[in-house]
């Protein structure tokens, strides 16, 4: 599906502040995953009678950093509202959140984020950002709400700090949405907000409307691929309704992850009344200009800045630069490596992106510097740069480094140190050609068969030859043979 001018998509993105040590209003750990049910709880996040919330100041600081990075207008005071609805995973039957109105405001509003689609720069407007508490989690023992006789509730997640980011309806295709979300995730990683490798750390409500129709909200979509599928499904559904002359009503739909369809719920959004009012337990937090200035002065490097730096300072290509920057750890790793070697930046980036990343694997990217210390890779690349080893050896060495070997010992034990070239290599080529008369005959008839001889030479040199140089030397020798044969025929 390309960009359709009649499609409008807006996003409500919920990001868990996984980098916080504690929940939003109590001192329970924010690391709730993989814990036995209902063990990461206290009177506050269970909403027990008599308990009171105390705001995690670090959460406010992190939200303000996001507001600064998204170029937003920041409120002078942060206040809290209660949003009432009855659901078993919500311990107080109200959620502490923020609200625009009734004396309460969002943390920040009216910002934007630039992102790239097919090499074009686009801008998405950010309407507002809020902090709020995550509810608990309902667990169905059969895995489905429909077939379970009972539901279990795990409150370990209850009270985790969520950052809600609401965009304007500035997208018209899934491709734009995904490109934006990639850019946003990268930004949030650079701001040390969240680790998106953790399951459920980002959930998105997608608002979709077609010209002439009402807005439909698809709630709680968990992954980027589901977001794409949900948008395609919903646009198609609404379009076919419109073609049949049926008006699309404003409604909330759920994403059925198993069947990959959106499902209507009975509640119409316009009927809901959350009875918002300012939380009387939580005095507003005033944001002083000094505090904002401190935060602005101590912002970490943002993705755009790093991207530019990699291109301008290290000479990395635009493409490799975006690949490196899309993973904060990878960009940091690249810079760590470059501090220790004089190799050309683009060459180093290419080896990291094309070889190292594949062997390390996406899921272990956060530990890349532990798996292959930057100093080890730098040493390998420095030897390549000096011509001490060949690219062939670099490629062979990387999986060995990933499995825990150290550069020096590896090269010594494999006898990979010391490049064989020039006169020395020519002698080896001569020997190989003598010992492989049949292969030489093949190669004389079919130039492709030369690779076989190159392989033999690499074997003979213990991979210390430059394959290109070996190829050239063999080709030269073969030309000499041909010349000799022609001479003999002429006679």
């Amino acid at each position: 599906m390309s960009s359709d001018t009649d499609v409008k998509i807006g996003l409500e993105i919920h990001v868990q502040l996984t980098s916080l040590k504690t929940k939003l209003f109590c001192s329970c750990s924010s690391d709730y995953r993989d814990k036995p049910p209902n063990t990461n709880v206290c009177p506050v996040c269970l909403g027990l009678p008599g308990s009171l919330p105390v705001v995690n100041q670090k959460a406010i600081e992190k939200a303000l950093r996001v507001a600064i990075a998204l170029n937003m207008k920041i409120a002078e005071k942060i206040s809290w509202a209660r949003k009432h609805y009855f659901y078993p995973d919500l311990p107080k039957n109200y959620q502490i959140t923020q609200y625009e109105g009734k004396g309460v405001t969002s943390i920040a509003k009216e910002g934007y984020l630039e992102y790239h689609v097919n090499g074009n720069v686009k801008t998405a407007r950010i309407r507002r950002i809020n902090l709020e508490e995550d509810p608990g989690k309902i667990v169905y023992h059969t895995g489905s709400m429909l077939t379970s006789k009972y539901s279990l509730i795990d409150y370990n997640r209850s009270g985790i700090a969520l950052l809600e980011i609401v965009t304007e309806p500035d997208f018209s295709s899934p491709r734009e949405v995904l490109a934006f979300l990639h850019e946003l995730r990268t930004l949030l990683e650079y701001l040390d907000i969240a680790d998106f490798k953790l399951e459920g750390s980002m959930r998105v409500d997608v608002n979709i409307s077609l010209a002439g129709g009402s807005r439909v909200e698809v709630k709680n979509v968990g992954s980027l691929s589901d977001i794409e599928a949900a948008i395609i499904y919903e646009v198609t559904r609404q379009r076919s309704l419109a073609e049949k002359g049926v008006k699309v009503e404003m409604e909330t739909r759920h994403w059925d992850q198993e069947r990959k369809v959106t499902v209507g719920t009975r509640t119409k959004e316009s009927e809901e009344d959350y009875r918002y009012f300012p939380d009387p337990n939580l005095p507003p937090v005033y944001i002083s200009p000094n505090m904002l200035e401190d935060l602005s002065n101590t912002m970490p490097e943002l993705p755009q800045t790093v991207r530019k730096k990699l291109v301008q300072v290290y000479g990395v290509s635009e493409y490799l630069s975006s690949v490196l920057v899309s993973e904060k750890k990878l960009a940091e790793y690249f810079e760590e490596v470059m501090k220790r070697t004089n190799i050309d930046g683009d060459r180093a980036a290419s080896i990291i992106v094309n070889d190292l990343v594949g062997w390390v694997g996406e899921e272990r990217m956060n530990q890349i510097n532990k798996i292959v210390p930057a100093s080890e890779l730098a040493e390998l690349l420095e030897l390549l740069k000096r011509g001490t080893i060949t690219i062939k050896i670099v490629k062979e060495a990387i999986p060995e480094l990933v499995s825990g070997k150290r550069t020096r010992e590896l090269l010594a034990s494999k006898g990979w140190i010391g490049k064989v070239s020039g006169h020395e290599l020519a002698e080896i080529v001569d020997t190989v050609l003598k010992e492989n008369a049949n292969a030489v005959t093949d190669a004389l008839n079919n130039p492709k068969a030369i690779q076989h001889l190159v392989g033999k030479v690499m074997e003979a040199t213990n991979k210390r030859a430059d394959p290109k140089e070996a190829f050239e030397l063999i080709s030269k020798k073969l030309e000499e043979f041909k010349a000799k044969v022609r001479l003999q025929e002429d006679r």
Binding site: L48, P49, K92, N93, D273, P280
Partner: protein, 471 residues
């Protein structure tokens, strides 16, 4: 009068008292009086072993209102919905007094979720007034006041959202203090209306009142609205030292006439109140009458704010995580389950939840809640003017005598006169104290003082002097 608690603790420290004696006597008295007056919802039967020998409250029996959570000790809020609720943690005030060696002898009866003025909305039956069983002891901290008034304990804790410490103190003839908002931690006090709730002490003497208050007022990081104690050890000194008569000459008592000449006020009580004023004047107090008609609007503003907050605070009681269930979740859909369980609330609680939910709903919020907040701000600034330059507001503790225990609580007319002077302190966050100044037959007479923020030291000093003057 010297503090009985202090005398005991000092004797104990000198080795001149048995650490079990005070608690033993309290439990004996409770065993006799609880069946008569229905003071406790949960009464501890046995004396704990190994009572402390030191600590500011070592070996001192204390009664606690049943909306303050106590670890492993049932806490019901006098409601069916929490009939079997045993908390897993203790309120900050409970931790503080237990650390000082206090012995909690029981959880006292109250209006359900502290909603009521007569003590009659309790799901466990009403508490009777120890001064006359045909009368209400006042609410909502009915049991805590009755426990002190009947002589079971010398100190107790209540909570005060709209007069709930001060009214029962006034109607049972004891001392009660509603602290400045933020002076005592609310952590562990089951919320009724968060912006006005405060835990307050009830005591048999002004010194005991000051002594208990000096212990419980402190900053608590677990309460986001906690400010703590700006007085150092001044309050404790007031508890220990002789009354300071000079205090009467350093203040200006102001009597808002609207709160005394209320159409529902009782003539004989007002007469007694005037007599008490003359006596204070003759001791050197400067008393003047002021007029502020907006004070008559206090109850309306209070109720809008209190009911709104209550409707939100009580949403959590649904039988999912704790408390009683009427039906099991397997049997019905969630909405039905929720509604059936919440039928366990009594009628007054339901009334307040419904009105609060209505006030906060779309279209009515601006009409009621926003207006009430605005009015609250206006009243606050009016009161600030009254209190500037050493002013203290003086009203009757209750302008009517205790109502009969079988009074029809749906008839709010007689309670209107009681509400305005008491709720004024909650709406403005100001400290207020009720001081007994004698009796007319079995009817106790009292005065109420409302001071500037953090003026508890002055209010308690005045209480000590007043106690001597009328003693």
């Amino acid at each position: 009068m010297k503090s009985r608690v202090l005398s005991f603790v000092e004797d104990l420290r000198r080795g001149a008292a048995d650490q079990y004696k005070y608690v033993e006597k309290a439990l004996e008295e409770a065993a006799k009086k609880d069946p008569k007056f229905n003071i406790f919802i949960t009464l501890k039967g046995e004396i704990p072993e190994n009572l402390a020998l030191s600590g500011k409250l070592a070996g001192v029996p204390v009664a606690i209102k049943d909306n303050i959570v106590t670890k492993d000790l049932r806490t019901t809020c006098a409601s069916k919905i929490l009939e079997n609720f045993v908390p897993k943690y203790s309120a900050t005030v409970v931790k503080i007094i237990e650390k000082e060696g206090a012995v909690i002898i029981g959880k006292t009866n109250m209006d359900e979720f502290a909603m009521g003025a007569l003590g009659t909305t309790s799901a466990f039956g009403p508490t009777l007034n120890p001064l006359d069983v045909k009368l209400s002891p006042g609410g909502s901290s009915s049991g805590s006041a009755a426990a002190v008034s009947s002589g079971i304990v010398d100190i107790a804790l209540g909570s005060d959202t709209g007069g709930s410490v001060r009214l029962p103190a006034a109607w049972t003839g004891v001392f009660g203090l509603k602290p400045t908002y933020g002076a005592v931690s609310r952590f562990g006090l089951i919320s009724y209306a968060d912006s006005m709730d405060q835990i307050g002490p009830i005591a048999s003497t002004a010194s005991d009142l000051a002594y208990l208050y000096s212990i419980i007022s402190s900053f608590d990081p677990l309460d986001p609205t906690s400010s703590g104690n700006p007085w150092g050890n001044k309050i404790e000194r007031i508890a220990r030292e002789e009354p300071d008569y000079d205090i009467l000459r350093s203040i200006k008592l102001k009597v808002p006439k609207e709160l005394v000449e209320h159409p529902q006020a009782d003539d004989s009580i007002v007469k007694e109140f005037s007599r008490a004023l003359s006596k204070l004047e003759s001791e050197g107090a400067e008393i003047s009458e002021i007029s502020e008609p907006s004070l008559l609007k206090v109850p309306q503003v209070y109720y809008i704010i209190a009911f709104s907050e209550a409707s939100s605070n009580l949403a959590r009681f649904d039988g999912v995580r704790y408390g009683s269930r009427v039906i099991m979740p397997e049997e019905v859909d969630w909405d039905t389950y929720y509604m059936e369980n919440r039928a366990l609330f009594g009628w007054e609680v339901k009334r307040r939840i419904m009105l609060g939910a209505f006030i906060l709903s779309k279209g009515y919020y601006e009409m009621y809640y926003s207006m009430a907040l605005k009015a609250r701000g206006m009243i606050k600034s009016k009161v600030e003017q009254m209190l500037s330059g050493g002013g203290i507001i003086l009203t009757p503790g209750s302008p009517i005598p205790p109502l009969p225990i079988d009074y029809d609580a749906t008839d709010l007319s007689r309670l209107n006169a009681v509400d305005a002077p008491l709720m004024l302190a909650n709406l403005t966050g100001l400290p207020a104290i009720t001081i007994p100044v004698g009796k007319r037959g079995s009817i106790p007479i009292s005065i109420q003082l409302i001071g500037s923020p953090w003026s508890e030291d002055i209010l308690l000093s005045i209480a000590k002097v007043t106690e001597e003057i009328f003693g």
